[in-house]
């Protein structure tokens, strides 16, 4: 990794940070638990790195480490999205909408 690509990564990181700040500060406390499980699912994106490690077939140790990583990351992705879905299905407004919650 050279300095240029590091700077490019740093750009993405910084901008994603600002974007995250703006987007996530709008999430109401009502949905903080689903937010946590959803971001958990997102952090399962390490699956991208894990898949390459497991599939590159360079040596046994890396493949084993990769396999375990794939399992862990998949648990996060599948479990995270699934449970978020389950939680969100509970939230319902009453028949007669009263005071709106922001």
């Amino acid at each position: 990794m050279n300095a240029d690509s590091f700077i490019a990564c740093l750009y993405i990181f910084t901008l994603a940070g600002f974007l995250g700040y703006v987007v996530i500060s709008r999430v109401p406390p009502l949905l903080h638990t689903p937010l946590m499980s959803a971001t958990n699912a997102l952090s399962g994106i390490t699956l991208v790195g894990s898949l390459v490690t497991a599939g590159a077939h360079e040596d046994t140790v890396s493949t084993v480490l990769g396999l375990i990583a794939v399992i862990c990351a998949t648990i996060n992705v599948v479990g995270g999205f699934w449970i978020t879905e389950r939680m969100l299905s509970f939230f319902r407004r009453k028949e007669a909408p009263r005071k709106e919650k922001e």
Binding site: C9, G20, T53, I83, R92
Partner: protein
């Protein structure tokens, strides 16, 4: 061509992730948002599988199947009361995956790794490993496998700083001497131990802060992985997670009136002596029938749920009581404190599961002006979040913590298991106030009796 498609799939995934998070700004749009995030994740995975570096798929398929089965089973069967431990566990899984990818990278390319790339891998492994063990301890504490009290020992801070110093030395050594295997594994081991040390001293009631912090660390570990393999979608998703966790920690801190530095460095030695207000008067035990009559003829009733409601599994019967009251024309509201429960927003999910519509769930700032117009406030298994000492007594250890001002309502009914103090061990002057009375016993049973009594009133 293939490469372009892969990069494009990552870009699309990043956009979909951001839209997904944006959807969470409202319960109405949240599920649609999550659908988008799911499609994004699928795109990212398909894109990755097309990469030329991947030459064999058998282990990948095995891993994906096992992971899906375990993840699906956990998500499908875990009861909503156990959400905090489940979330802590999944922090551990996510962080461990990041850590393993870093270890594998070092194992394969050890000597070739220099400079910034090695810095990224170091961060990935450090954050990933300490989050793994930290989250496992948190999960064990939440599940009751370990005592929820702070576990401390003499010289803990000295021990921690020594660890930190050695880890830092190893970190620098690896950068100076590429492929320094011993230093790398020393650092790795310390990171695992450090995770334990970070969470062991933390009390169960402080868990919301720790949970958010671990959430943030798990995300940052993923972002560091992105730096290590120069992959933008990892950086974006990891950063979103990292920031979300960080912001939740800040919110939780504010809700407990703790400083941000206190949180950033874990909650080392958070125990402080406090002076409770001299209690005046007696705790008054109420008669169940009287409470039922009071509730039945009230104009407005506010329920204040705490972790005790979750442990007593009382959320469904609370909803039953609220419906019974509403049928009689009583206005019913629920007041949810940001740190009620063991993770941010936990009470909201429990009440929503019990069919309480979210239009009845109120946040602290919304409900506090409403308490003076409230006839009866019913506190269910909550203590510190309604302790008026936080507002009135500057020498209390929770001074300055925003509270739900139930003491301003016309009368307060507190459902309590026994006469003991709360988790924090603080005396709560609310219980000695003239307008406050207590109903002892299991919250679920008491509430069920109240439902019957209200129906007959």
């Amino acid at each position: 061509m293939e490469h372009d498609f892969i990069e494009f799939s990552y870009l699309a995934a990043s956009v979909l992730f951001i839209l997904g998070m944006k959807g969470l700004s409202h319960p109405e749009s949240a599920r649609r948002g999550m659908k988008m995030a799911q499609v994004g994740m699928l795109l990212a995975i398909v894109g990755t599988l097309l990469q030329k570096q991947i030459i064999s798929y058998e282990w990948i398929v095995v891993g994906l199947i096992i992971g899906s089965l375990i993840g699906g089973a956990i998500a499908h069967f875990v009861p909503m009361t156990a959400l905090p431990q489940q979330t802590a566990l999944s922090h551990a899984f996510g962080a461990f995956a990041a850590s393993l990818v870093g270890i594998a990278e070092f194992h394969r390319h050890g000597v070739e790794l220099t400079g910034l790339k090695m810095v990224a891998i170091n961060f990935e492994v450090l954050l990933g490993s300490l989050t793994t063990t930290g989250s496992l301890v948190a999960a064990a504490k939440l599940q009751g496998l370990m005592p929820g009290v702070p576990l401390t020992f003499k010289g803990q801070n000295v021990f921690n700083f020594t660890l930190l110093f050695v880890a830092l030395a190893a970190f620098i050594y690896i950068l100076a001497v590429p492929g320094a295997t011993v230093a790398f594994y020393v650092m790795l081991t310390i990171a695992f131990i450090f995770g334990l040390m970070l969470v062991l001293p933390i009390a169960a009631a402080d868990m919301p802060v720790v949970m958010s912090l671990l959430n943030s660390y798990a995300g940052l570990a993923a972002a560091a992985t992105g730096f290590a393999i120069s992959n933008n979608v990892l950086i974006i998703a990891g950063t979103l997670n990292g920031f979300s966790g960080f912001m939740l920690s800040v919110l939780m801190c504010k809700a407990m009136n703790r400083s941000i530095t206190n949180v950033l460095f874990g909650a080392f030695g958070s125990v402080s002596e406090s002076v409770a207000t001299e209690r005046t008067g007696e705790m008054r035990e109420l008669n169940l029938e009287d409470v039922a009559t009071q509730l039945a003829y009230a104009r407005q009733v506010v329920f204040v749920p705490g972790y005790g409601m979750a442990t007593a599994q009382a959320q469904h019967v609370v909803h039953e009581l609220s419906e019974t009251l509403e049928k009689r024309g009583v206005t019913v509201k629920f007041a949810v404190h940001p740190v009620a429960g063991r993770m941010p927003g936990h009470m909201n999910v429990l009440l929503a599961e019990a069919n309480v519509p979210y239009s009845q769930l109120y946040e602290l700032e919304q409900i506090n002006p409403d308490f003076p117009h409230t006839d009866v406030s019913v506190v269910i298994g909550a203590n510190d979040v309604v302790n008026p000492d936080a507002r009135d007594n500057p020498s209390s250890s929770i001074a300055g913590m925003p509270i739900l001002e139930v003491d301003r309502s016309k009368s307060v009914v507190v459902l309590k298991r026994g006469k003991g103090k709360g988790f924090s061990g603080l005396e709560n002057p609310l219980f000695f106030m003239e307008n406050c009375g207590l109903l002892y016993g299991d919250a679920k049973g008491t509430l069920a009796k109240l439902v019957q009594a209200v129906q007959q009133a």
